[in-house]
């Protein structure tokens, strides 16, 4: 029996438009055009439906949520529905006045993403000059009494700047900082060979982060996400399929996780046709991998099944080409060899070195160039 819990967070991907072109963007390779985006009024309804379903927090993301001129209204609608309103932004298309409007509309939490500790690195990975603007935005946010998190996306190419990122964090002094290792979906999967850190880099980074966490305790809350390729067990993706999080795409499709549209044979329902409750409780997409019934024997009989839920379905598909198999990250999986082979390749190259240009195909071959994410129409 699969009992259905209610979701606690709604991830609202408001748009895929974004002035940045990050090489690790989690958006799908096929981006949604502006003309297909959900309207303001429909978002307001979706937010009410989410609150009725038991959702506590709305996380506005994208693309760049500021690319929606109606963001202020959407945030107001979230608060009117009784939700906590949080947004993550590159800070690029923002000025002081717009920030004031967002705060007045009830924005609870502002997450500012950083691509590096200084301009040059940030430009390489995001394909845009943004760093100076981010520092200005940080200063404006600090003038308001709202939650403030810095979000550093870290990977092989910028891990050596970790100390500088921490120093920058201390200077800005937000309530919270997240160091998130890139997760390999979307654009990051395509660029993985150049993003995955070596074991030595990872160990060193964890040491630095643990120290920072200790030192800043009670002042700045330090959180970090490690790349699960190095883990023994997989992560409980989204806290379990259809358990805690519901995600609405820019065009209104409702998904259990941001990468689920890579899975073949899945159809997703749209907020235009059914209520969030119906979709959450009844739709095939949410039922498909909910609970333990769908699991392969290996997971169904494992003590950790309620801890990691057999890992990530999208990762199982991306790595082992089978969405209903044990996540190959798991050391108990017969397919762990796939992950080990990727790690061997990464660790064989000299630390930080970028392998020479090559035309040979293969997942572990570093692409000659970064694959930058474009901006949809």
């Amino acid at each position: 029996m699969n009992t259905i819990s209610n979701p606690l967070a709604l991830v609202a991907e408001l748009t895929h438009r974004c002035p940045l072109h990050c090489v690790y963007c989690s958006n799908p390779l096929e981006l949604t055009a502006r003309s297909r985006e959900v309207s303001t009024a429909s978002w307001a309804r979706v937010l009410r439906e989410a609150a009725e379903l038991g959702v506590l927090q709305a996380d506005f993301t994208g693309g760049e949520p500021l690319a929606r001129p109606d963001l202020t209204e959407i945030i107001r609608a979230a608060r009117a529905a009784g939700l906590y309103a949080s947004m993550i932004t590159s800070g690029l298309p923002l000025d002081e006045k717009r920030l004031e409007e967002l705060v007045a509309a009830g924005l609870d939490h502002f997450q500012l993403s950083f691509q590096g500790a200084e301009e040059e690195a940030a430009r390489e990975f995001s394909g845009t000059r943004t760093h100076a603007q981010k520092l200005r935005v940080a200063e404006w946010v600090k003038r308001h009494r709202i939650g403030f998190t810095l979000n550093f996306v870290i990977h092989r190419g910028n891990l050596h700047q970790l100390d500088d990122m921490i120093a920058l964090t201390e200077k800005i002094a937000p309530g919270r900082v997240e160091f998130a290792h890139v997760q390999y979906y979307g654009w990051a999967f395509a660029n993985r060979a150049r993003l995955l850190p070596t074991r030595a880099q990872l160990d060193r980074s964890l040491e630095i982060l643990k120290k920072a966490e200790e030192r800043l305790r009670g002042r700045i809350k330090v959180e970090y996400v490690v790349p699960d390729y190095y883990a023994k067990y997989p992560k409980p993706c989204m806290g379990g399929w259809g358990r805690k999080v519901i995600l609405v795409k820019p065009d209104g499709d409702v998904l259990p996780c941001h990468a689920a549209n890579v899975l073949p044979g899945m159809t997703f329902e749209n907020v235009a046709n059914r209520s969030l409750r119906q979709i959450w409780e009844e739709s095939d997409a949410f039922q498909k991998f909910r609970g333990v019934d769908w699991m392969p024997d290996l997971c169904r009989t494992c003590d950790r099944r309620e801890q990691d839920f057999g890992g990530c379905r999208c990762q199982a598909f991306l790595l082992a080409h089978d969405a209903s198999t044990t996540d190959p990250i798991c050391s108990l999986s017969p397919q762990r060899g796939i992950v080990d082979a990727i790690l061997r390749d990464v660790n064989a190259a000299a630390p930080g070195a970028i392998a020479p240009e090559t035309t040979a195909p293969g997942a572990a071959t570093p692409p000659a160039e970064w694959l930058y994410r474009p901006n949809p129409e």
Partner: protein, 92 residues
């Protein structure tokens, strides 16, 4: 770090209680939410920058007069400390 009894705890920026009208009360904070029951709600409702830690302790000792006052105090100090580690409180 045990909170100073003369300080006034106040919910940190980005942390707030959900509306009174909602069926269960929660402390909402960046990327997480904490369900509050009887005593924890009584404590958090007083973290408004007006009550000192001492006053909160005295209030709850009155409310929960059947419990040992020592124990009530310890529980409150421990709870406030945990909230501060979560960066849910400022002490003013």
């Amino acid at each position: 770090m045990t909170p100073d009894p003369t300080k006034r705890p106040r919910l940190a920026p980005g942390c707030r209680l959900n509306e009174k009208s909602q069926p269960s009360r929660v402390l909402l904070m960046p990327e997480r939410a904490l369900r509050l029951n009887g005593p924890s709600l009584e404590i958090v409702e007083r973290c408004d920058g007006n009550h000192t830690v001492q006053q909160i302790v005295a209030d709850l000792q009155k409310l929960y007069s059947k419990a040992a006052p020592q124990k009530v105090e310890q529980d409150i100090l421990g709870y406030l400390e945990r909230l501060q580690e979560q960066r849910a409180l400022d002490f003013e």
